[in-house]
Assembly symmetry: C2
């Protein structure tokens, strides 16, 4: 089975008007994506933020659980947060996994795309041999176009059977993608 | 297709020692589960809390998005939060759906259970004719035993292919269950 890591990007992402912005760290994003990553066997969770003080906030959250009383109270949370690595850019995440040429980068989006990779096909690709895969999620209104353009694949959006609406939180979207890719099936 | 509603229970739920407690409302639970419910076509999202002031907090969050400036800024969020109904008990949620005898109640849990209903079988049951289904989620360490005992079915826990760990947030778990039950498949 191939190694799978995830990244949550705070820059470059889009705002509601489609402009490229930098979003703020959200505490529950750190926790929830770490817990989902740990549950589905991802190797690393890169929190990507270009601002040092924001990366320090992530490191403070992780340290609080690693060494503080909360980690003793809830050991399972400590195990999940051990996957978190704050990095300044996606390039730094690529380096940590062996370099851009040694990995595949798969982006995610709520928007339809004719060339998108269906989850079932992506799941099959992970079951075989191959380079590590970094699955990339965007905060705010999603990843900037440049991030998709530089990826090896873009995963198809998550759509419900009964509704046209898809405005999931990134916490929900990441959980569903990981389950589709790496969840056990009866 | 059968009507599906969801409920998020704050009492009776378990704490880390297995005692029955009442948990506090978390703002992002209100938002995230509403967005997941709306995406997957659930008809209602009942936030169950026995304390009046906590229900008023939920109603204030919803009203802020229904009538305040945020709803104009992000109309999609307003549409999701329109599904939220704060109720004092699961019994009140049953009444809102036509009464306990007129619905099926399906509970969720991270713990294995020999008689649990697999997601694929549950999905098939929803595609046909039948009474409305209320899918019930617990906060804190999960639903108290009485809630499971009074249900018509208990859904199988979410498990990863590659890990023994399952400590998902309720935001992540609800998203995955709804995708397994009501997500479009390629």
């Amino acid at each position: 089975m191939r190694r799978v890591a995830i990244a949550l990007v705070h820059h470059p992402v889009l705002d509601g008007r489609g402009d490229v912005v930098t979003s703020a760290i959200t505490n529950l994003d750190v926790h929830d994506l770490a817990r989902s990553a740990r549950t589905f066997g991802a190797s690393d969770y890169f929190v990507v933020h270009p601002i040092t003080a924001q990366r320090e906030l992530v490191e403070a959250i992780v340290l609080h659980w690693k060494e503080g009383s909360s980690g003793k109270r809830i050991p399972a949370r400590k195990d999940a947060l051990a996957l978190v690595r704050a990095v300044a850019s996606l390039a730094a995440a690529y380096e940590a996994l062996g370099g851009r040429a040694a990995i595949e980068v798969w982006t995610t989006s709520a928007a339809p795309d004719a060339s998108a990779l269906a989850a079932a096909a992506a799941r099959e690709r992970l079951a075989g041999e191959g380079p590590p895969v970094l699955v990339v999620f965007g905060t705010a209104w999603g990843l900037a176009a440049d991030v998709h353009a530089a990826a090896d694949a873009r995963l198809a959006p998550i759509v419900g059977l009964r509704a046209e609406y898809n405005h999931l939180s990134v916490r929900a979207a990441c959980a569903i993608y990981l389950d589709r890719l790496l969840g056990a099936r009866e």
